[in-house]
């Protein structure tokens, strides 16, 4: 029997405190009542002496001790043939515990309730507590421990950020396996959130691209799930600093208001106004082409930071010739939401990170070093590897556009006439050709003796047969055909394929 089905069954029961009739389970999970009873038998056989699920004739099924079953338990226990979780690695164990603490924060748990089933000693438990404090500290959250109880304390925004960062991956979202064990509720919530994303796109007249759509989806989804778990807490969320500022009445803020109004209606509950601002932070931290701003609206801070980053990367001789102007226009559009993300501590997953590291190892390291200097110079929060990966892609594009300059010698009869005309035309059309000199045909040998860096001789007159290096004769008009021949020849010189 599929583990996934067993997880669904336990997940359904987790959301119901009382007995659930077999017919209801059969209908919700779209299987026969016989399959339900067989699944319950198997789960109970795997889960030890008393069994996880209590079955009563005429009443149905319920979890024997729902509080002792965490979502992590469901996943781990049923992912293996044995309900025994003592085999989990310490990392997996801590993940399960912190997940449970976070999703229901600030609910207090007896330590024995959280750690008891792992059958570990006090020293391992102390190690776990230290590790959990470190993990939570990254999100400005604290793990409190008083009289044998533990719980997580911190701001709602930080709790959600921790949930998003630690437990949500795109695979979960794609497979609808995220947080909410009740499949029907989960799918309904996911569909609702997707509908809100469509609404945002409609209102801002722009598409929200990957990975920002995933981020906003996660934010709204966690908001809903958190409300379902600890709804009463939401009212305590205070307005973040900056809320109510001049941007409050902006178009984006209006969009956020509409979406949060819809969420309120969906949950049939009132949500604090801070939720509008949280969503605003996510939207302004996303690169949405044309939707939220025009290129002319690049703020000075973004300009300076972008320029500084390009300069720092270009300090490396390998990248000093990148077209910084072209790079700037693309990168600045990325940097604007990036700076917002850093300020708002919004993390974006980068699925291509490993590939980027593999393909551009040196460039990635160079960009990473440059971002460290950027952080120091502009007092920014840490730019993590995922963000460095995104930035690296922009530089990689610029590097690919960059071709190694080919040193050329221009020749005409006198070096003063058509070679000068050619010089002007080549300078305007070929940024990757470096004109070393413009000479008379009679002076070629002397100049080549002096300039060994010359890789190609371009002439408007026929050249002596004795020349042993790549040459190209073009018309002084430098026609399109001439330009194409010159480009091909320059490529051959770069690749070492060109001969006389």
């Amino acid at each position: 029997m599929e583990t996934r089905f067993k997880k669904s069954l336990i997940g359904y029961l987790l959301n119901r405190r009382d007995f659930v009739r077999g017919s209801e389970l059969s209908s919700a999970l779209k299987v026969s009542t016989k399959t339900i009873s067989r699944a319950v038998r198997q789960i109970n056989q795997q889960s030890g002496q008393h069994g996880l699920i209590e079955a009563k004739r005429g009443r149905g099924y319920r979890l024997r001790n729902p509080d002792a079953v965490s979502l992590g338990d469901v996943g781990c226990a049923l992912g293996d043939a044995n309900i025994d979780v003592s085999h989990l690695s310490s990392i997996e164990r801590r993940d399960e515990i912190v997940k449970r603490l976070l999703i229901t924060a600030p609910q207090k748990y007896r330590m024995s309730e959280l750690w008891g089933k792992y059958y570990i000693g006090d020293s391992s438990m102390s190690t776990d507590l230290r590790s959990l404090r470190l993990i939570l500290g990254r999100f400005r959250l604290s793990l409190e421990r008083v009289s044998g109880y533990v719980w997580v304390e911190g701001a709602e925004a930080d709790i959600r950020r921790a949930i998003s960062s630690l437990f949500v991956d795109e695979g979960d979202l794609a497979n609808h396996q995220f947080m909410q064990p009740n499949q029907s509720i989960e799918q309904r919530d996911a569909a609702f959130v997707n509908k809100q994303l469509d609404l945002i796109e409609e209102l801002i007249h722009a598409e929200i691209p990957y990975p920002y759509r995933v981020n906003i989806f996660t934010h709204l989804y966690i908001l809903i799930e958190r409300f379902r778990r600890v709804g009463s807490l939401m009212e305590d969320t205070s307005c973040p600093e900056g809320y109510g500022g001049p941007e409050e009445h902006s178009k984006v803020m209006d969009v956020c208001r509409s979406v949060i109004d819809n969420v309120k209606m969906y949950l049939d509950a009132d949500l604090p106004d801070a939720e509008i601002y949280y969503l605003y932070q996510y939207l302004t931290s996303s690169r949405i082409e044309g939707g939220l701003s025009t290129p002319a609206e690049i703020p000075e801070e973004v300009r300076s930071a972008t320029q500084y980053l390009i300069e720092q990367v270009a300090l490396d001789p390998r990248y000093r010739d990148i077209d910084s102007r072209e790079l700037f226009s693309g990168l600045a559009k990325h940097m604007k939401p990036l700076l917002n993300r850093l300020q708002n501590k919004i993390k974006v997953n980068n699925n291509l990170l490993e590939q980027i590291r593999l393909e551009y190892p040196h460039l990635f390291r160079t960009v990473q070093d440059a971002t460290k200097r950027l952080e120091e110079r502009f007092g920014l929060n840490h730019i993590d590897g995922e963000e460095v990966g995104f930035i690296t892609v922009y530089f990689a594009q610029a590097v690919e556009n960059l071709r190694t300059p080919v040193n050329i010698l221009l020749v005409c009869t006198t070096g003063l006439g058509t070679a000068q005309l050619l010089r002007s035309k080549i300078e305007r059309r070929f940024s990757d050709l470096n004109i070393v000199e413009t000479v008379a045909i009679k002076d070629i040998d002397a100049v080549l003796d002096m300039h060994h860096e010359i890789g190609l001789v371009v002439s408007t007159v026929g050249l002596p047969e004795s020349l042993t290096m790549p040459t190209l004769v073009v018309s002084a008009m430098l026609t399109i055909e001439d330009q194409e021949r010159l480009e091909r020849m320059a490529d051959q010189v770069r690749s070492g394929e060109a001969g006389r």
Binding site: T413, Q420, V461, A476
Partner: protein
Amino acid sequence: MRTIMEWEPDLGKASVDAFEFFDWVIGYLSDLGLVKEPGRLRERLVDREAAGSTLVGANLANPHAQLSEISECLIFYIKLCDPILNWDGRHDVDRILVTLLPEKPDGRDLVRLRMLYRRMADEAFMNVLQSGADTDVQQILLTEGK
């Protein structure tokens, strides 16, 4: 640097080829006392054409030579009534910019000449040379590089 312009001059016959045109140019300059060895200049101009087309614009050729028998830099612009057919075997031209340099040109002339050629890469400038009125052509030839 001397600049000369001839607008639709009488070449002695209705249509000429490139070699006949060179003969006319050399005769014209010899009459002005600007060329000491007409034979050598003709040879240089013909050799230059043989080395590669001197076409610099759609209907504009730029035959040129550098030789010791020339005493100063010379720009000679000629607008023809009838085009010279197949100037370089492929293109007709009706405007010709002849450039002659002495073996050791004056430094200021070199700068002017270089400027003139560089400016020829400008579309607007080239349009005047290719199809401009006589006053416009005269204007840019006389002022360019000064």
